[in-house]
Amino acid sequence: MTEARAAEAATEAAVAAVFREEAGRLVAGLVRFLGDFDLAEELVQEALLSAVETWPGSGIPDNPAAWLTTTARRKAIDRLRRDSRYREKLVLLAGSPVPAASEPDDRLRLIFTCCHPALAREAQLALTLRAVCGLTTTQIARAFLATETAMAQRIVRAKRKIVEAGIPYRVPAREELTGRLREVLAVLYLLFNEGYLASGGPEPDRRDLSADAEWLASLLAGLLPEEPEVLGLLALMRLHLARAGSRFDAEGRLILLPDQDRSSWDQEAIAAAGRLIERAAGLGRPGPYQLQAAIAALHAEAPTFAETDWEEIVALYTLLLVHQPSPVVRLNRAIALRHLEGAEAALAEVDAVAAELDSYHLLHATRAQLLRDLRRAGEARTADEAALRLTQNPAEQALLRQRLLD
């Protein structure tokens, strides 16, 4: 990386951090003031775009929050002038100091609105990134490898649905909260995985969505400190991130868990995640994210691969299956079972879900590994070939090709 490019990247990161901190507050404040989600979100996005254009040249202002607020407010006044329906608001907006500051729980409403189950999953993802994290449409399009036009359309459609279908702008009532929170957490985890799996790929300009997802989860944990599944998801993400650096070698090749350099793992982050899991457990409502975090913690805390507590991991997977009876969980349990009971027991479990997961590359890669353990080389090869056909991820492709050569 050249020096100029490095400075540019540093500015970009600083701008991203400011946007994340301010965009959601601004949108939330303006929605409250204008009573119009669509318009509020649009105005903030315009303010962010102005910042993207001017900050790299002029430098980030001393008080970036005030700069963005003032810019959004000016744009709001411009827009409202053109529309007589807003005349009363205009008087207020022009006269009042800054209407855009909002209480933290306003961002909670924003998150629940963006992740409303009446919106398609991909719209939830895009809208959350834009309205809550302050990503521009260009950044979102690039992160999802979509065209900017397609992404802009997706966002416009989602916002139109919010307005036309009457999706409320509020935190769901107590009795609905668990179900609606599940939807929000699914969006955040999907975002995280989108970033986590894509990293190391050939796209250096792609925004790392796993950092945004972690930020969102930590915001949510602050806003809903009594919800153990939020803490569980946050711990899970942090445990993955603590080990992220050891997943690739210098050439970008994938390194699997047994061969990763454990000394490079962030021990402090791992310990902190462990405390989060304990705090969640103390709330007495176990759930799938807490269990996955506990499994990830056992992996992260093992001094060597050989010393991993497979018995406990298999037990946690068995419990996870009760909460989340999915074939993917059963496959993951089988992978752990290999180290506890051997390849034959694991293969029987894998074969039980083979039909359901036939199009999932990790099913075939796992089968291949177990078949090799059992010295059934021909079948192992066929399974590796099937896995190679099914994955699009370049690092995984390289690893499978190497296996087929060995």
Binding site: A118, E164, A165, G166, I167, P168, P172, E176
Partner: protein, 117 residues
Amino acid sequence: MKYILLFCGSDERWDTIPEAERNATYEQIGAWWGKGTAAGKIVGGEELQPARTATTVRFQGAETVVTDGPFIEAKESVGGYALVDVADLDEALELAKGWPARGVVEVRPLVEHSGGM
């Protein structure tokens, strides 16, 4: 906001379930409807005759073509609707989730024409 809840299901299933079960469902629907109406949320609605009674008129150029059956041949069809007047989508969804006959419920906002209709 006004929404329409479109109750969809399989006519075949409805025709073949035991009479006692059908009557029990009608009773539950009656209770659901009564409660929603008393709360001022349900403001209208009807049950439809089965899809086999439907007739479709299609405009093709200058011609109109009349055919037997609903406009889309599907296993499930609209069997009735309720018109509801509630605060927002969440409230409409809450009503839909309580629909006793199960099957599928499509929730659609109505176009609010300015000036009233």
